[in-house]
């Protein structure tokens, strides 16, 4: 057993604290503690993940260019390919945010 308290352990400790204070709080604070725990779960998956490091999975300039092309209609002829391309990067984000949201075909991380 290592004595090093890594980032995941720090986050787990904060989650445990949130659960403790939620148990003695009013309904609104309990809800907010749940949301905070949800956010920390996301960060923990991101720290563990290989596909994403927390920054967006796509280059910002490429994203802006792709959006402009979709808007102008110049991607219409490549509609299915574009949907698949965007879906691929979206699946990576969903795996971080809430993997159980994915359908079975994208479920394996």
């Amino acid at each position: 057993m290592t004595e090093f308290v890594d980032s995941l352990e720090l986050l787990r400790t904060v989650q445990e604290f949130l659960q403790r204070i939620a148990a003695t709080s009013d309904a609104k604070s309990r809800f907010e503690a749940q949301v905070a725990t949800y956010l920390l779960d996301m960060v923990m998956r991101e720290l563990r993940g290989h596909e994403s490091t927390g920054a967006d999975v796509d280059d910002a300039q490429d994203v802006a260019r792709l959006c402009a092309e979709i808007r102008s209609g110049s991607r219409d002829a490549l509609w299915n390919e574009t949907v698949e391309e965007v879906l691929t990067s979206t699946v990576l984000r969903v795996r971080i945010v809430r993997p159980d949201h994915l359908s079975a075909e994208h479920g394996d991380a």
């Binding site: 802006a64 979709i70 949907v83 971080i96 945010v97």
Partner: protein, 332 residues
């Protein structure tokens, strides 16, 4: 959670101005901060009488806000209540002297809005058995009201062109999201003809419906009302975002679409086309994704920081996934 002392003092003064110096406020609580407003529930005590009331004040203001102003909301709820529709009775609107911000007070209706309870609690099984037909009846009733009674809605961008309204807001946020652009492009190219424009609730779904164990008792949260295709309200109700753990049950996670559409047709005499519902369901996903971008932007810019708003920033990708799966025809 309780409200701060200054707010309670202002609220007390607002009530004294309208109900006399003997009026006072007790048992103030702040149940939630919604997407566009802040809510307080309190008791108005006047002599021996006690009334539970609700205060709603705007928290989101923007030139291109997707939300109705408080004064238009008050006028709308007043008119809808007058028609006999189940909506909490509006009591009075705040004015600048109240120092409460823009908002209004209505009567408190006792019931449950919590989706988890409504969709999953055994105690609500009876309410669930009626839910789809009740939704159809309420929407049919609402869609029959004359749009001319709501003149301020006609100028709203959502009433004029709902797709353009979404695109304008999305472009205004300056956050490029390819899935949203794909959704908007598809909506622009596949727009079904709108034969008539009706009054729409604009956010008719589990979470905005006050429900008892015997069924829906009131329809809340009218800040997204506008005029448009009745199918827009039906598509929004069937949005995947409001299925609460039951993705195979489009009507609020409670029922299939069939009973809803059959009942709506029975109440209105109007056939609702499946393709039209699919169109407006995808519209609902795009609109919901853009609303989440708005909340994340407010959080990042510091206007309205909060845990839920931060979560909206990341949750946008869940909605984008649903948009793309719908565009592929995997999700119907």
């Amino acid at each position: 959670m309780t409200a701060d002392q200054a707010t309670i003092e202002n609220l007390s003064n607002a009530l004294r101005r309208r109900f006399g110096q003997g009026a006072r406020v007790e048992n103030v609580r702040a149940p939630s901060v919604g997407a566009s407003s802040s809510t307080l529930i309190f008791e108005l005590v006047d002599g021996a009488s006690r009334r539970m009331l609700v205060s709603r004040t705007e928290t989101y203001t923007d030139r291109n806000s997707p939300f109705l102003s408080a004064s238009d909301q008050f006028a709308l709820v007043f008119e809808v209540f007058r028609s006999g529709f189940p909506v909490p009775e509006p009591v009075f609107q705040y004015d600048p002297d109240d120092e409460m911000g823009d908002g209004y007070v209505s009567v408190f209706v006792e019931g449950v809005t919590l989706p988890k309870t409504i969709v999953h609690s055994p105690a609500f099984a009876g309410a669930r058995s009626l839910f789809a037909v009740q939704c159809a009846e309420l929407l049919a009733t609402l869609h029959r009201l004359s749009p001319s009674n709501f003149p301020y809605l006609g100028e709203r961008s959502d009433s004029i062109d709902p797709i353009a309204a979404q695109r304008d807001r999305y472009m205004g946020y300056g956050v490029p999201r390819p899935a949203i652009d794909l959704g908007l492009r598809w909506l622009e190219k596949n727009h079904p003809p709108v034969s008539r424009k009706s009054l729409l609730h604009g956010d008719f779904r589990v979470g905005n419906l006050m429900v008892s164990e015997r069924g829906i008792i009131a329809v809340l949260d009218w800040e997204c009302s506008h005029l448009g295709s009745p199918s827009e309200d039906i598509g929004w109700l069937c949005n995947r975002a409001w299925r609460f753990g039951n993705p195979g049950m489009p009507v609020g996670g409670i029922d299939k679409a069939g009973p809803l559409l059959a009942a709506y047709e029975r109440f209105t005499g109007t056939h609702v086309d499946d393709d039209e519902i699919r169109y407006w369901t995808i519209f609902g996903l795009v609109r919901w994704a853009i609303l989440n971008v708005m909340q994340a932007k407010g959080h990042l810019e510091g206007n309205r920081r909060g845990l839920v708003y931060a979560a909206c920033g990341r949750n946008t990708s869940l909605i984008e996934y649903d948009i793309l799966m719908s565009l592929k025809g995997v999700y119907l």
